[in-house]
Structures are given as C-alpha cells and as structure tokens.
C-alpha cells in the first residue's frame, strides 16, 4: 500500500526507559515500538500509571531528571532525538515538534497577552517584524475558531475560559507548522460539549496543516472520534496497536476487549451489571515479570504467568502491520477463544417502590450577594445565581441522575440537599419529615438517613486515621442503636460491622488496619462508599463518584453502587457530567443548565425524542468508542454565560442550536409535559421538537 512506502514522521523503536525511585531503577516503559505516518493522528491510550505521558515526552526527548533510556530510539524524520543534546533540541522543540499539555495554563505565560505569546513564537520561527508577527498571531487565533481574535489576542490567559485557553494553546503549537504535534490529554479538563467542539477542531486543524500527531488520552471515545491508528498501553508495555477500526471493531487483546466491554452505558434491567476487569493496575514497583496483564486477564494460562509474550506483528492483508502482545491472540482471532463480555447478573433485584425518599421544593441559592458596603462601593455588582427554584423528588429505591456542564448548579443542588450549603429559600422533606436546611440543626436520626459520596477519592478519607477507625466512627455515630436508645455499641459490635461494610464493598478485612496512602483510587472510593452506608441510609448523594477514577475501575464502582442499592434498599441522587454513567445507574434523569432544571424524565425519555435542545446537544457530544458510529453533529458554540449575568428569557438561548426567535430572548419558556411526566422547559412546541429531532 502507498503509505508503507512513505517514511514515518516519528517512530519509537524498542524504547525502554527506567525511573530512579529512591535508590532503585524501575522499569517505566518496556520495548515500546510504533510509528506515526504523515497526516496521521496516532492515539495512545492507557490508564493512569501506564506510562503514556512518558512515551509522549520521550518522543520529544523530554525526560524527567530521574529517567534514563536503557535502550531504543525515538526518531523524528529519520533522526534519533535521544542522541541529541539540549542545544540541538532547541532547534527542534517548538518548531518541528509542538506540545499541547492537559492544562493549557501550564503552557501559557500569565504575564503576557495571548497575542504577544503567539507572536513571540512566530518571530522565533520566522524572524519577521513585530507588527507582522502580531497580524499572523491574530490570523492563527481566527483559524482555531475564535470569533473575535483581535479582542482575544489582547487578553491574558486567566481571562479566558478553559476551552478558549486550549484553543490558544493549540494555536501556539500550530503557529510554526510543526512536523509532529504531541497532545497530552488536551480535552480532559473540559466539559463534554466543549470537548466535542475542541476535538472536531483538532481533527480539522491537523488535517489542514498536514501535521502528524500523537494524541494521548485515557478516553476511548475521544480516541475513536479522532485517531486513525491506536496504540494501547498497559503497565508500560504496548498491548495492541492497530487501526482504529480494527482496534474498536475487532479487538484481539483480552485487555482491549475487556476494557471496551466495561465502559459505562445504559443497560436494560435492574439486575444487569457491567462486565468488569478484576483487580487494579500494578504499581511501578511490582509489575509482573511475565505478561503484565496476566493477573487481571480472564483468559490467562500458566504460560502467561511464566513468560512474557513478544510484541508480534500481524500482517494479513499486506497493509500496515497490526501489533499485539498476547500469548493467545491467535485463538482469539480464530474465534476459538471468546473473552466473555456479556453483562453480569447482579446481587438481588429491587425495583423502585412507591413513595418518595426525598422531596426538595423550590430550593434557591445565590453566592456573593452584595452587602451594604458593596452597594456603596460597587453599585453594579450582582450575585451569582447557583441554583434557582429547584424542585426534585427521589422515589424510594430509585436513582435520580443529575447531569449538566460545570456551572449548571448540579453540585450546588447536591450540597443544598445534604446541608453542606444552606439554601436561601425552599424546603426539604426526608421520608415525609421536614428536614432543616442547615446540617447543624438536623437530628442525628435524619443525618443517618442522608449520606454522601464525594468526588475526589484522595481527600474523601482522612490520610492520618486508619480505615477501620474511620468506618468505626461512622458506625458509632450513625447506628440506629446509638441514636434511638442512646446506647453504645461495644467495640466488638463496631468491629463486626466494619468488617461487614468492608465485605459489602469487596475489600479484604485486613484493610481495616490500613491507611489511605496504601490504597488505590478505586479502593479509597470503596471505603468512602462503605462509610456512606455505615448505617444503611435511605438516600446517598453521590457527587461525581467515578469521574476521578480510571476507566477499568469506574465500572466496578458503578456496579458496586447498583448492588448496594439492591441489597440495602437505598436510593441515590447521582450527580455526574458523564451521561453514560448516569444512564447506567439512574431510573430518572434531571438535566440542568445555569442553575435551572431544563428537562426531567426517565432515562428512555431523556435519551429519546423529543428532548430539550440542550439535552440533545449533550448526548450528541458524548464521545462514542466506535470509529464507525454515526457521529452526533450538534455542537454548542460560545461560552456558558456567567451566572452573575444570566441571559434574559430562556437561559439557553445564547447557545441554543434550535432557537426560534425573539421570544427565546425575552420570555422565560414554559414547562411543557411531553407525556408521562416528561417535562421540558422550552418554547418549541412538543410536536415541533419531535419533528425536528426525529
């Protein structure tokens, strides 16, 4: 084939790198081999700790001070960069290779305007005059989809939104027309709607500039949408490397197969569970010496635990060789070995019951409300409207999912309900009893029924107290006995319940004596869930419980939450930006935008037609791990308006792709019932929405 004859732009050749940790040298990358063709976006996917960022940096010969290259080459245009010194690299960095990091603020100097910074890069590359460089900086900003580049060029980085900063970072990277663009998780910190716009932008820009790119991500959906060739990394080794279509449609490696199957998605039936990968990725210091995936592999043989499989080249059609590192890939390819990816059966079945666990009526919350002093000194100052007249109901034994972008008020809603923030107005009812808005005034009997799981597993449990002590304290404080009869549980009783809790979240009993530092992210989140379930609460509020976790761990935690709901009869209020995770767990969904509920319905109703134009855009923006999938093409442009200056009329009108006219700007839309309590806040009549979206 034609592309076999062209020389690759970049190439990693049996690259092996070690890190010095303490006084030991630990293998971080082993035998990494792949190449990137001209015009190719090469995806590098792996979980945290897999070494994917090290690969990206090594391709730029940019290694940590404690790293050493044991063997191998990192080649750009035929030159091995690893043999060059810093002086030689300075002519290559920024000109032939450009880098876009996860956090654009790390790449931008806070004390210069973005225009000055891009102009500076242009001047270094081409030695043109200052005025000419500024003009090309503005032109470049226009090419990355910035509508008013003259204005933006004069802004400082901190004055821009995250999506805008990332556009500037890519503009800067592209300004010298590099041969290779290295992008390290550039959209991970962005909202899903912004991410979709930026990913499209990347794809178009890289194609138009005839650049080759190495795109590092943990997100299989983004990789599938963007990349033509994909390399899968696990524990510092390449597991598979194949064209995107082959990798996603006909995966051959047990890791790839299991990982794809474990992605959160809506599943029918309250008893079905996502297939999962058992265990956790090995840490740098105890990677298996044979196949690194063998301890978690559903198809591992004795051979897999004894001998490292070679990285084999598969070339069945004369095209570019696919690579795989597995002893059993031939059996998988021939169909003799099937990796089981059918959804599992979960523990117990507990369909929703009648009645409500929680009812919230007309909750509102504003921050930064102007006080007397502000009225004198800053008369124009307005408060931030974080939540506006929110009413929700959670049915017994059900899950209510809340989705929306950052700034939608979904986290505020969660915190108002548990009482960590006090609502300005509104009322709460828990199990048909009035609940004080302030957590400090709630009786312990109410506290035990309402618990929370937090987003960040690293700060969710106290690093200085043992796991057992923390769970024991929760049992002690919240158990029915100690609250209702004032009696105390004995030490032995508490210890027994801690053991039962650990078992419920599937952690070994000896974890009671461990500390947070000894646990992985997923394990910490299990402890946090166990703590929330210490006294069998009626409602658990989970704020982004899986968003800080690795893909292969997310499904395990989601399954655990589903199991606990069935076995312990709890209800959930699940807050997430991840629609797929919400859809897997939830019965009902609320969609929020700028502090307001724009749509309420069952999962099927919200996913189906008709739906609010915002919901439609959110669903369309979800990156699907299937390169052949029909791509949603609805994109939200522009920025989320500031909650200090809410748009008049419909709050969504500034970004709405289906805006019908002046009425959207002037009149707040009505709440329409599309049938069966499916509520949509929009001016467009239901029949018209259905027609437009079908």
């Amino acid at each position: 084939m034609a592309h076999e004859s062209t020389r690759p732009v970049a190439q990693a050749d049996a690259l092996t790198i070690e890190y010095q940790i303490g006084d030991r040298w630990l293998n971080v990358l082993h035998d990494i081999t792949f190449h990137i063709q001209p015009d190719e976006i090469h995806g590098l996917v792996g979980e945290s700790g897999s070494g994917k960022s090290t690969v990206a940096l090594a391709m730029m010969r940019y290694l940590a001070p404690n790293a050493r290259v044991v063997s191998g080459r990192a080649v750009l245009d035929g030159d091995d960069l690893l043999t060059k010194n810093d002086g030689e690299m300075r002519a290559i960095w920024g000109r032939q290779i450009a880098y876009v990091p996860q956090d654009p603020l790390a790449a931008l100097n806070p004390s210069y305007t973005v225009g000055e910074q891009i102009a500076e890069v242009v001047r270094q590359g081409t030695r043109v005059r200052r005025a000419a460089a500024w003009t090309s900086a503005v032109t470049i900003l226009r090419t990355v989809g910035i509508a008013d580049p003259d204005v933006i060029a004069r802004r400082y980085p901190h004055q821009l939104s995250g999506g805008m900063q990332q556009r500037v970072a890519i503009a800067m990277a592209l300004s010298t027309q590099p041969r290779l663009l290295v992008l390290d998780e550039p959209t991970t910190a962005l909202d899903v709607t912004t991410q979709a716009v930026i990913v499209d932008l990347f794809r178009d820009l890289i194609r138009d500039n005839h650049a080759a790119a190495l795109y590092v991500s943990h997100d299989l959906g983004v990789i599938a949408r963007l990349c033509s060739w994909v390399t899968v990394l696990y524990a510092g080794e390449i597991m598979a490397s194949a064209s995107a279509i082959d990798l996603f449609k006909h995966p051959l490696h047990p890791y790839t197969i299991s990982l794809l199957a474990s992605l959160p998605r809506p599943l029918t039936g309250s008893q079905t569970r996502l297939p999962t990968i058992s265990g956790a990725a090995p840490s740098l210091s105890d990677r298996p010496h044979a196949c690194v995936f063998a301890p978690r592999c559903p198809a591992a043989l004795a051979l897999c635990h004894a001998e490292k499989p070679p990285l084999e080249q598969i070339n069945d059609d004369g095209g570019r060789s696919r690579m795989i590192r597995c002893h059993r890939w031939r059996e998988i390819a021939s169909g003799d070995l099937v990796i089981d990816t059918t959804p599992m059966q979960g523990a117990g079945d507990a369909p929703p019951r009648d009645g409500y666990v929680l009812q919230a009526h007309h909750l509102s919350k504003s921050y930064d409300v102007p006080n007397a002093l502000d009225r004198v000194l800053a008369p124009g100052k307005r408060p931030i409207h974080a939540a506006d007249d929110l009413s929700i109901m959670v049915r017994a034994r059900s899950t209510l999912g809340v989705v929306g972008e950052s700034g939608s008020g979904k986290t505020t809603l969660a915190r108002l309900i548990v009482g960590l923030e006090t609502a300005d107005a509104g009322s709460l009812e828990l199990l048909d009893m009035a609940l004080d808005l302030k957590v400090g005034r709630r009786p312990r009997a109410a506290l035990r029924e309402l618990q929370m799981v937090f987003q960040n597993p690293n700060s969710a449990i106290n690093p200085y107290l043992s796991i057992g002590a923390q769970l024991g304290r929760a049992v002690h404080r919240l158990s029915k006995e100690s609250i209702e009869t004032g009696g105390r549980l004995t030490r032995a009783q508490i210890a027994a319940r801690v053991m039962a809790l650990l078992e419920a979240v599937r952690l070994p009993a000896d974890y009671a004596t461990r500390y947070a530092a000894e646990l992985s992210g997923g394990e910490k989140q299990r402890v946090a869930i166990a703590r929330a379930f210490a006294a069998d609460p009626a409602l658990v509020v989970a704020d982004e419980p899986t968003s800080a976790l690795d893909v292969s761990v997310q499904s395990v935690i989601l399954n655990l939450l589903k199991d606990l709901r069935a076995t312990r009869g709890a209800s959930y209020l699940l807050i997430s930006h991840n629609l797929e995770a919400v859809a897997y767990l939830a019965d009902w969904i609320i969609v929020m935008y700028l502090g307001e509920i724009v749509e309420t319905g069952t999962v099927d109703q919200v996913y189906g037609v008709p739906s609010h134009p915002y919901t439609e855009a959110l669903i369309s923006a979800i990156p699907v791990p299937d390169p052949t999938a029909l791509r949603g093409d609805i994109r939200l442009h522009g920025e989320v308006p500031s909650p200090r200056h809410l748009p008049t009329g419909c709050r969504f009108h500034t970004r709405c792709p289906r805006k019908i006219g002046a009425i959207c700007e002037t009149t707040p839309p009505p709440i329409q019932d599309a049938g069966d309590d499916h509520l949509i806040r929009c001016h467009i009549p239901i029949e018209e929405l259905t027609r437009l979206q079908s």
Binding site: L447, P463, Y464, A517
Partner: protein
C-alpha cells in the same frame, strides 16, 4: 522515627547536640563542681584542670556557671515554645476552620502584632512590667503565638474543604471533634517542624534579652548576661565570653539541624503517602 533521625549525618549531629544540652539542663546543676554564685578563687583565671573554662571577673567558675545556666536557657524557651504551640494551634484551628470575618479580624490583628520588631516589643514590655522569668515567658509566647497560628491556619484551610471533613459534618460531629480528631493529625508534621524552629528562635531571644540585662536577674547564671559581663574584660579573659557564647551557638545550631532533619523526614513521608 528515631531511626530516620539517625540516618542523615547532619540530623544525627543535631540530635546529639540537642540531647547533650537536654541532659545538661536536667543534671547540669548536679555535676557542676561549684555553685553558680560561689566565689572559688582568683578572678580572671585562664582555663586549667581546676577550672575548665577559667574564672570570671568575680572569681566564679565559668564551667559551673555554664552548666547551671543550661537549665535556664533550655527551660524558658521550652516553656514558651510549648505555650505558643498550644495557643497557636487552638487559635489557628479555630480561625482556619470557622473562616469568614472571624478569620479576617484575628488574622489581621496577628499580622499587625508580627509587624512590630520582636526585640523592640520585648524590651518595651519587660521595661514596663519588669524583668522576670514569667515576664520573659509571657512576652515570647505573645510574640510567637501568631507565627504558629499562621502555620496551623494554613494547614487547616487546606483540610477544611476535604471530603473527610464534610463527611464528619454529615454525621453531626462536634466542632472540637472535627478540629482535634480530624484536622489536627494532619497538621502535626508542620507543627513539629515549626515547634523546633520556634524553640531555636526562643533560645536566641532569651539569650539576647539576658545580654541586654532584661533576663533573669543576677546572680543567676544567664548565658546572655554572662556574655555581656565578660565583654568588658574580653582582652584579659576571653574564655569567660567564649564558653557561654559557644554554648549558645552550639545549641542553636543543634536545634536548627534537628528541625531541618524533621522537615526532611516529614517531606519524605509525604512522598510515600
């Protein structure tokens, strides 16, 4: 912990020095060959087998006076360190956790206290209230409490929004439980380092006050005042100045090496976590 202290040579030296002085503070008066106010012979004798550090202008044994003085120079700073750590921790935890205008008011008040030079404030206050051990302890505690408060407040602020603190609020824990059981353990490393640092500064300040004549009153063997008294006769009897000055220098260096070591140990453990 002990093993970690002994692993790094400089930390080991610091630990040994501090241990030596602690032992001296405890038993110095027992092993001193003479009393601190005892006139043992001719004034201004050079060091000899009888008088290891020589004698001073009144004919007192310098070696004995240094030994006797160890208790004072360790005890006063130790007490002030403990007091300022206790007050600073309580205050820092409280304003860091409560936040809002309480934090604002208290923090600014402490800042303004910190803006006044330490020695100047100490001189004025001791001048007004009279020099005494209690006075010195009170003044230095007043000076160092704000510094400890700031360290603890900063650590508390970063812990305040952590999930484990919010989880404690959601199970109805009392303020004291949250402050002392949930937050304090996390503040301890920073607090230990700060305490060691405060201790070394307090030694220095105590000695300075002694030198200026505002320390414990004569004839008690204050190293600072011993230096001042020996200053006049420096050309005839430099040993009377060398030994107390050397003792202060050695002690402060020892405490600093130790606090440096502690800082490294906690940062090292921080990496492991």
């Amino acid at each position: 912990m002990i093993r970690l202290l002994l692993r790094r040579p400089l930390t080991l030296i610091g630990t040994l020095i501090v241990t030596l002085f602690l032992v001296l503070a405890l038993i110095g008066s027992l092993i001193a060959p003479y009393g601190y106010a005892e006139l043992v012979g001719r004034p201004r004798q050079a060091p000899s087998a009888d008088h290891l550090f020589g004698t001073d202008q009144l004919g007192r044994d310098v070696f004995s006076r240094v030994l006797w003085g160890a208790r004072e120079i360790i005890a006063l700073p130790a007490v002030t360190t403990v007091l300022s750590v206790v007050f600073g921790t309580a205050l820092g935890l409280a304003i860091g956790y409560v936040g809002g205008w309480v934090d604002e008011v208290v923090s600014r008040a402490l800042d303004s206290l910190l803006a006044i030079p330490a020695l100047a404030l100490a001189l004025v206050m001791l001048g007004v209230f009279g020099a005494s051990s209690i006075g010195i302890i009170a003044v230095i505690t007043l000076l160092y409490t704000p510094i400890v408060t700031r360290v603890v407040r900063a650590a508390t602020l970063s812990a305040r929004s952590a999930g484990y603190i919010e989880a404690a609020r959601l199970r109805g824990e009392s303020l004291t439980y949250i402050l002392f059981r949930e937050i304090l353990p996390g503040v301890l490393p920073a607090l230990t380092v700060e305490a060691a640092l405060r201790f070394s500064y307090a030694i220095f300040l105590t000695a300075s006050l002694g030198f200026l004549g505002l320390g414990v009153q004569p004839p008690s063997p204050d190293w600072g005042r011993m230096i001042n008294e020996a200053r006049g006769g420096f050309s005839q009897m430099p040993w009377a100045l060398w030994f107390p000055a050397g003792a202060i220098a050695l002690l402060v260096i020892g405490v600093n090496l130790l606090s440096d070591g502690l800082r490294r140990i906690f940062r090292y453990e921080g990496e492991l976590r």
